[in-house]
Symmetry: C2
Subunit: 432 residues, 2 copies
């Protein structure tokens, strides 16, 4: 059987891991697919750069359009990233009848509708297991394993950098800056960590997961995003005393005919399995109508896991090419859009930390304004008593509407007694 | 598009859950598949029994061969269980060109080679996600997501009954009998719990997982099986003091060109994620060459999860039928057999509990005979000191060869100082 021909766009950590994996496990893949895999074209930024590769240098080009326009290429493997150029290349590949395997969560989150439409119109396959949580088989699970289920909710720890930082802060009481530096030193965080620590990368994945779970196109601007940069060791310590850990969660929920798609730090009960996922690991907890609550855990990033996920997709598509069925799979991504619930309409319990003077009557003022707005208090803790210094007053609320909480916090702000911004962290996974 | 036609064998918990799920989520399935699903024949033991069903009673038959021989049936859904008759029906279905979806782990573990051969020869599809760990997508993950990986090891908690019993014993210090009765009262254990508590059900799943992970046919008689019936509250308590929990593990490992396939109670470090999987939950930890260590957790049994897994397979096969590619997928199950490592050649750390007289020199005798056989002791604990009563002496060994340990225990037995059988529990997931 003639090998299935691949064209690679990008030959950094992931692209070269794909070549290496084909070299090492090619026999395994061939026995599964029924034919070998052959890389016939590779686009890189600089063709003169020395590389560790067994590929003929004649296959390298500095024009990525050479890959998507090459008549020999059957599957385009996009390991380049970014948005505009990646979109142009993807649309051109689809137009040329080429199947596409990508790890580009940024592209799918921002321009998914265009990509899925092009894939559907041109009858090509799109594999994107690698776009969410490395080798963790979440895309295949939602697309295939759980296809008879209505998905109720997804809670994901989908950014290893943020989870490493929060775990380090929790385990060692380290301040945010120290934990971030350590993550950078270990290679878990990039020199510019903005996408990871501000929650943007998690939000890209939340958008993709929501599309998959609910079959709805997602407008990325509808995704609420809040990162971990304002989380302090104090809040993590307080959380522990209340029996919680703080995790950066990507949340997708379906409730009363609307979806919630949001990324923010959340208090998770220590007894919840997702609370135990620490370090650079990723995890996704899926609550579905028939299969119950399932959790998938694994390393969420890195060349090995990403190449593993991409080759899983490549093998699936290659199998379909040989069976003559590639592009004949109905897409579950083209359903009608479901409205996204605005944050003000979301209900949850909250952790609130006020920085206020340590004087009689202050708690009564806080509790009064919360009560006036229909928010009742489940528990209270005060810390840091020192003469003439502000103290931290921590309140855990019962379930409250965000709009009501916002109003109460606004009124409390106008009292002029808070000497630092009030910390608000949602409690997830429980209502009372 | 004409619906894809199903024939059900068995209409108990699982069979009726499949009908119910098609009734409730038929629209979801149809949008994914591109056509509806229709049940056109159902085999039951007694057609006169009253049933909750929306199906025409004329579709019911008491001869399961009516299902596999019905020209209208495209996919045979086996939800009956057992071995001989199930094999006969499966082979006949394959011969008739029908695709098969089954939850029958017993059949696949005992007669897998015949089933896979028939499926391959007749060019039909076989879906068996439901045969291992309910809705947890382990079969699809091994067959598809991780297809570019060499699997290093699988550790599974794949029997919810045994895990419930061990969790109950650990949490409440309950004796085995009490935990079993409670499991029976809650419906987690059957009236005759033999298959679950003796490890046989777990061993069926271990055999299937090993076949999938390593592409080798498995002779079930090569699987080492030991259940949980001899685990005592004392051993669970001792384990806790050493920092371990006892779990019934299904283990499949590839090492030095041989596989290990075994089911037995094992000491697992409390810090290991699989140690935290409690109650009736199932979990499978997969260590693979590229994707690293991944874990899948979920409810491992029940009508809902089983029907969910079977309908996931049915949808996949229906999609292939419509694309004209059903039966064209190469089977990864037909590779050369890999030798199974005999238990005596397995190395691990061990927990040993001796019941011996509380007198000077006894420990020296035990340690001496262990040492003579090359087994060194990592730690020791003695409990239950009472005048003239035997005591429990617990030793944790360093890594030792089972053959050496067997020899040492045999020699210790011949000393005549042990007043009860010595308890031996392997430590998994660590070597030192």
């Amino acid at each position: 059987m003639k090998p299935v021909k691949l064209g690679l766009i990008g030959f950094g950590t992931v692209g070269s891991a794909i070549e290496d994996l084909i070299n090492r496990n090619g026999d395994l893949l061939a026995s599964r697919i029924g034919a070998g895999l052959e890389i016939v074209k590779v686009a890189v930024r600089d063709t003169t750069k020395k590389r560790e590769t067994k590929l003929d240098t004649a296959l390298f080009t500095d024009d990525p359009f050479d890959v998507v326009n090459d008549p020999a290429v059957q599957i385009v493997v996009e390991a380049m990233g970014g948005e505009s150029l990646a979109l142009e290349l993807t649309l051109q590949a689809a137009k040329n009848g080429k199947h596409i395997v990508t790890a580009n969560k940024h592209l799918l989150a921002m321009r998914g509708a265009e990509v899925f439409a092009a894939v559907g119109e041109n009858g090509v396959e799109l594999g994107f297991e690698a776009a969410v949580a490395g080798a963790i088989p979440i895309v295949r699970t939602l697309r295939s394993s759980f296809s008879a289920n209505r998905i109720i909710s997804l809670y994901g720890i989908v950014n290893g950098t943020a989870n490493y930082i929060l775990s380090k802060m929790a385990d060692e009481g380290a301040p945010y800056e120290t934990a971030l530096s350590e993550a950078q030193r270990l290679g878990y965080a990039e020199a510019d960590p903005t996408f990871d620590v501000e929650g943007i990368d998690s939000a890209h994945k939340a958008a993709i997961l929501a599309s998959l779970a609910f079959g709805t196109p997602v407008d990325f601007s509808d995704v609420y995003v809040e990162g971990v940069t304002r989380i302090t060791a104090e809040d993590i310590g307080m959380a522990k005393e209340f029996g919680y850990v703080i995790k950066l969660l990507a949340i997708a929920k379906y409730e009363r005919e609307m979806v919630e798609i949001r990324v923010h730090p959340a208090m998770v009960a220590c007894s919840n399995p997702i609370a135990k996922v620490s370090g650079a690991f990723n995890a996704i907890e899926i609550d579905c109508s028939e299969g119950g609550v399932n959790m998938l855990v694994g390393p969420g990033a890195g060349g090995g896991p990403t190449a593993s996920a991409m080759l899983g997709d490549i093998a699936d598509i290659a199998t379909k090419i040989l069976a003559g069925s590639a592009g004949k799979t109905p897409s579950s991504m083209s359903q009608d859009p479901i409205a996204v619930r605005p944050m003000v309409e979301i209900k949850s319990r909250h952790y609130l930390r006020f920085t206020v003077p340590d004087s009689p009557g202050v708690l009564a003022q806080l509790a009064g304004l919360l009560g006036d707005n229909g928010i009742s208090i489940a528990s209270m803790m005060q810390r840091g008593r020192k003469a003439d210094m502000p103290v931290s007053v921590v309140l855990m609320t019962h379930t409250a509407l965000t709009a009501n909480l916002d109003k109460a916090l606004d009124e409390i702000g106008r009292l002029g007694i808070c000497s630092a911004p009030t910390v608000v962290i949602r409690v997830e996974g429980e209502e009372e």
